[in-house]
Amino acid sequence: MSEQGGRAWVFGDDISTDLLAPGPYLRHPLDELAKQCLKSVDPAFARDVKPGDFVVGGKNFGIGSSREQAAQCLHHLGVSAVIAQSFAGIFFRNAFNFGLLCLTCPDTSQIKAGHRLAVDPRAGGVSNLTTGAAIASEAVPAHLMDLVRDGGLIAHLEKRFSASTPES
């Protein structure tokens, strides 16, 4: 029987951009950089994470530098959303610019590593499929859902620019 939802990878507070995308690897191709993602906290993460999985953090997820590779690595690894109690402002914007969902969830204590999750970003809500718990999260604003729908900011702008180009 195939399992439903995505697997939760649970991390603590203050997961920094240096942990997500370590400075010394920034010049390397994304594939190699992504292998270093969160390695110093959980060596198994980058190796074993599957597309559709969720990253769950505590407070200030993505704190630190403006380097968007921090969000890009998670997106590249197929993470479907980051669920955290709070986000660093720049990371939050960067994530949506890649089409990566961020869900602000005041209480993540009911999510343990390995739990299966599903999310409803528009209405706000995380379902813990393993325990059956319904967990509140903030609804994602419509303009950010547009970015997710279009596959990120550049794809969104591409659509906007092509829509505003007069027919020749």
Partner: protein
């Protein structure tokens, strides 16, 4: 109800009379800054895909500071791409190896009170020292801004950070920020604007104010701000702008603040933050006698002229301890030039310091001065996250330039006030 300074600037940029915290507005960007690491090499492919050039090449500043001077072929290629793209876009405000972007925006007079500015770097809030609303963004965000000249923002609340009294001798802006990181925590900024005020802040020179606003990034604040005052006006006189207009950017007296935190500046001791977070800050006495391998004076946070003066005050007539290396990477070429002219550099070099080129250098983990496994460094930079300054197994402590210089002399973390004569400022 009145508006805070941040709300006034955002409202102006959004073409509105007023804005309310929490609402999402679209703002016209007065100035966009990008640097070599997250700039042209990242934004060019996006603009090419969209088939557009920058929306206004007079409103774009490009600064090569992270990889300069280049140390290998791959970074040389990044710099070459940067220069070619700047020429192709007709961007004249391009500074190549002249210093750290946040310091140059101030030094060149590019940021002014009341401006709405976005910078492609997390320490962009530095310009808040002058009353400019400036925040950091990632490369894709910057590409969107360069393509359209606008961006969205959720109007942040403003928190007042008041420092009463006067800082004691040997206690500086860096100590204020480390103390705030230690007491409010890394999330203490809560996406809000941190507006600094109070008698201890009013006495601070512009370099010190820049350090305050710069490190609001460590508190996950949207930005830091200081309303223009006499010191701002004196600073602006260098740039021949309308002082009255600039000084008019003030919060309303009945503005609403999310909170006001009051601290006694007179009671503050020099602070040190232990690895691997600025929030691990405590008075220097708690770390006394910790051994170091390297002392690093650098970054937009910690190597402006005022910072170098602090280091020189300690190092004058003294020498760096045996077995310790002291690296000094001035924040800008102008800083290096002024420090050379006023004798500061001679003092540092006589003491045994190694001078590194002006730029981001080891602070960003790119340049000279990165650390090996197990090495211990005390640094005047802004953040000591694991792996930032080299090996993830290195230990980085943060302190003011005074504290870093004192540690360089003794080879151990110590209270810099032991080296300062009382009385003189």
């Amino acid at each position: 109800m009145g508006q805070t300074l941040a709300e006034k600037v955002i409202a102006r940029a959004a073409g509105r009379n007023s804005v309310t915290p929490g609402e999402i507005v679209t703002c016209n960007v007065d100035l966009a800054m990008i640097h070599d690491a997250s700039g042209p090499r990242r934004v060019k492919p996006h603009l090419d895909r969209l088939g557009v050039n920058v929306w206004d090449n007079e409103r774009v500043v490009v600064i090569a500071d992270h990889y300069t001077p280049v140390a290998d072929v791959s970074t040389a290629a990044i710099l070459k791409l940067t220069r070619e793209w700047v020429a192709q876009q007709g961007i004249t405000r391009f500074h190549d190896g002249e210093g750290i972007c946040h310091v140059l925006l101030m030094e060149k007079g590019y940021v002014r009170p009341g401006m709405f500015v976005v910078g492609g770097d997390s320490h962009s809030p530095t310009g808040g020292a002058i009353g400019c609303f400036i925040f950091g963004a990632g490369a894709t965000d910057m590409a969107g801004i360069l393509a359209t000249g606008e961006t969205w923002i959720r109007v942040p609340e403003t928190k007042r950070i008041e420092w009463t009294g006067q800082l004691g001798r040997g206690v500086v802006a860096k100590d204020i920020m480390l103390h705030l990181c230690g007491t409010l925590g890394m999330g203490g900024g809560e996406y809000q604007v941190m507006q600094f005020c109070g008698s201890a802040i009013e006495s601070l020179v512009m370099d010190e104010r820049m350090t305050l606003c710069n490190m609001t990034a460590e508190l996950t604040a949207q930005t830091g701000l200081i309303a223009p005052d006499k010191i701002t006006e004196t600073y602006l006189e260098n740039f021949g702008i309308d002082i009255a207009e600039a000084a008019a950017w003030q919060p309303d007296t009945d503005a609403h603040y999310a909170a006001t935190h009051v601290f006694d500046g007179s009671a503050l001791a020099p602070q040190v933050a232990a690895p691997h977070s600025p929030a691990n800050a405590a008075p220097v006495g708690e770390f006394s006698n910790g051994r170091i391998d390297q002392a690093y004076i650098g970054a937009c946070t910690g190597s402006k002229l005022e910072d170098l003066h602090m280091a020189a005050e300690i190092l004058s007539g003294r020498t760096v301890a045996k077995g310790v290396r002291l690296l000094v990477a001035p924040a800008s070429k102008e800083t290096t030039k002024r420090a050379a002219r006023d004798g500061t550099l001679a003092t540092l070099i006589d003491a045994g310091a190694t001078l590194v080129a002006a730029g981001c250098a080891a602070c960003a983990g790119f340049g000279q001065g990165v650390l090996a496994d197990g090495e211990i460094c005390i640094s005047s930079t802004s953040r000591n996250f694991q792996g930032r300054m080299g090996s993830p197994q290195a230990q980085v402590y943060l302190g003011s330039p005074y504290t870093v210089a004192a540690a360089a002399v003794t080879g151990r973390i110590c209270d810099p006030r032991e080296f300062l004569t009382q009385g003189s400022a």
